[in-house]
Amino acid sequence: MARMKFLCDAERCIECNGCVTACKNEHEVPWGVNRRRVVTINDGVPGERSMSVACMHCSDAPCVAVCPTNVIYQTEEGVVLHDKDGCIGCGYCFYACPFGAPQFPNGPAAFGARGKMDKCTFCAGGPEENHSEAEFEKYGRNRLAAGKLPLCAEMCSTKALLAGDGAEVSNIFRDRVLRRGKGIEAWGWMTAYGAEKEEAK
């Protein structure tokens, strides 16, 4: 097993926010904290593109490098996780992250009132016993330990959001791109699902 990655196919994302809802519900994420969100570029203009964004679990994660208490780590599968017990809520990880992934729930912490950092865990829980109550309370559900993928990707209705081993996910995307073609004639439905479906529609 190589490294766990997310991949969002901007040609397929329909901005339904199903991934955001699935994430919030699965982990019982508090108000004001969005581990995942959908970003739309050129909203309302033909050719607009949407993309689901969360922690990208960087191979060389800047948040790990800047954490002053050294409580952010990477698992064997490449998932970036953190120990909330040691988090002081300084917010350095937020400044370092190019995706704005770290979230702060405005709670008490050692350093200011931001609260302890919360972010996407790739549904892999955290440094507590697998499937324990403490793990769920602090980090959310551990689906990876149950042999499942993150719920955002599994719930995606158009399969725009893919999750899993980087090599496998790349193969799926490559296969998809080869089948649907490219260019001006491949816009909208054709781009997303291929020419055969266009005829059947």
């Binding site: 097993m1 790990v64 490098a65 954490c67 208490t69 050294n70 409580v71 952010i72 780590y73 698992t75 064997e76 599968e77 996780l81 953190h82 120990d83 017990d85 040691g86 892999a124 955290g126 440094p127 507590e128 016993e129 697998n130 499937h131 551990n142 990876l144 330990a145 149950a146 042999g147 499942k148 993928l149 990707a153 599994e154 399969k159 893919l162 999750a163 899993g164 081993d165 496998e168 996910v169 193969n171 799926i172 296969d175 998809r176 089948r179």
Partner: protein, 75 residues
Amino acid sequence: MKPRFPIAPFAGALALALLAGCGEQPQVARYEQGKYEGKADTRPWDGAAFNGDRTAWELALRNRIVGQNEYKRVE
């Protein structure tokens, strides 16, 4: 006439202190790689679902990953 206070040692010390400002010290911070200091995590296949069987866990996950490709699913 002998001065009441010996000026020479004070003047020497002052000159040395002023000269020290001309010294060049490295101004670039040295970054050191931190080491994880939080709690140890259990691996995903160590739970009750897989009982430490990494191969079974990888197989279960691979099936899920491949299942995301609807072209393969409909074949």
